[in-house]
Symmetry: C2
Subunit: 242 residues, 2 copies
């Protein structure tokens, strides 16, 4: 279908084209630890291994649309927080043929995460294994049902990049809210920060800092069910002042 004419470097049709895919890093914080949704590969290459959900980009959809479609089809999910992460274009990353993949990062609340696991049986929860070795970043492994499992392709690199991005954005943006349900307590918000950053934070200071940012709005409601003083529930402010 495509005639290769290597004579004209300005003509897009003069180049053999790579396949372009989108892979999703569906992350949440479960039991105070980062977790990601993976699927077991049925076919070669890497048959039997775990991989991030993904798919090829169609010729009539944008990259963002492809990410949304795969989120919908493979995780039965709509309306999550999604942002482009990085594009992986090394030569040997897919042994079949040349595949360039643009990874997207989606952040889900623990509730949405559980809902996706119920709605899409092919998905499996994997805990992210991160050696917090300084700023290096590097690839991140996963553990499934307690046992370390290798990831297919370069998906460990993708996951490592996702963890770095998430850590980096916590400080200066409000992505943390994407990992929480509509209403949440300050303790739950702090748990998110501590799980992602891998540190323990000072409670009064954290409280002050968050309230001063103006990102939060009191709902007036309180937690229920605990046998001690219930915490106040907050939500994301409608008009956050920057």
């Amino acid at each position: 279908m495509t005639e290769i004419n290597p004579k004209d470097p300005r003509d897009p049709a003069a180049y053999e084209r790579p396949s372009v895919a989108v892979d999703l890093v569906l992350m949440s914080i479960v039991d105070a630890a980062p977790a990601v949704l993976v699927m077991r590969r049925a076919d070669p290459p890497f048959a039997g291994q775990w991989a991030l959900p993904g798919g090829f980009v169609r010729i009539d959809e944008s990259l963002d649309e492809a990410a949304r479609r795969i989120l919908r089809d493979k995780a039965r999910m709509d309306g999550a927080y999604v942002e482009q992460l990085y594009t992986f274009g090394a030569l040997g990353r897919d042994p079949r043929t040349r595949v360039i993949t643009t990874a997207y990062l989606a952040l889900l609340s623990a509730d949405s995460f559980a809902a996706a696991l119920r709605a899409a049986p092919a998905l499996k929860l994997a805990k992210v294994l991160t050696a917090w070795t300084g700023e290096a970043g590097g690839p991140a492994g996963v553990a499934i049902e307690g046992a370390a499992a290798p990831l297919a392709f370069d998906h460990a690199d993708i996951l490592g990049t996702a963890m770095l991005r998430l850590r980096g954005k916590l400080d200066y943006s409000n992505v943390a809210f994407a990992l929480l349900p509509e209403a949440f307590t300050l303790r739950e918000l702090q748990d998110i920060y501590e799980a992602v950053l891998g540190v323990t934070l000072n409670k009064p200071a954290f409280r002050r800092r968050m309230l001063d940012k103006g990102w939060l709005e009191a709902t007036g409601a309180r937690e229920s069910g605990a046998s001690f003083r219930p915490a106040e529930l907050f939500r994301r402010a409608i008009n956050p002042r920057q």
Copy 2:
């Protein structure tokens, strides 16, 4: 050459493939203002308009290699600081055919910038026009020889993304050094920060902060040629403590 078989969603060959390109944002700070190198397009689409240097990714090179090759071929430059910026995959961004482009950001010193302009006559210096409208970001225009000029394709979006990335990384990384020559004064370093952030900074505080970070190393040498007290020259520390 490629047989389309839409029946098997797992087969890369089952999808019509987009063209994949790489575009470079070659940035520097010239006369205390952000500047970028552009080329005038000779052929349609957007013939006569200005565009970022770029090219199609070959089937036997990685994305990073393609960026380096284009840097070498179009800007006659080697060894600059280069990082991947973002991948632009909207549907109509190239009127000829489906082209997905991965943009790379390269940071150059004013000296390297001038050298590239001399070595590659097709390149032209363009001043970046940024309306510092809050955090929005948005597209950024350019001015060439004092007159505003439209950019081809979605290159204004790419440039806007580059400016945002540069601004964001100044605070927590040492990218500023990539915009300076080997040896530089603290005033020159501060000029970089002020030009990129669009603010004026306090001199003693800036000095303290930079020296405390441990990224700098005194060379022992001093500026020369000025008719006033010469400033001490620093270089990037070999073993920066984080």
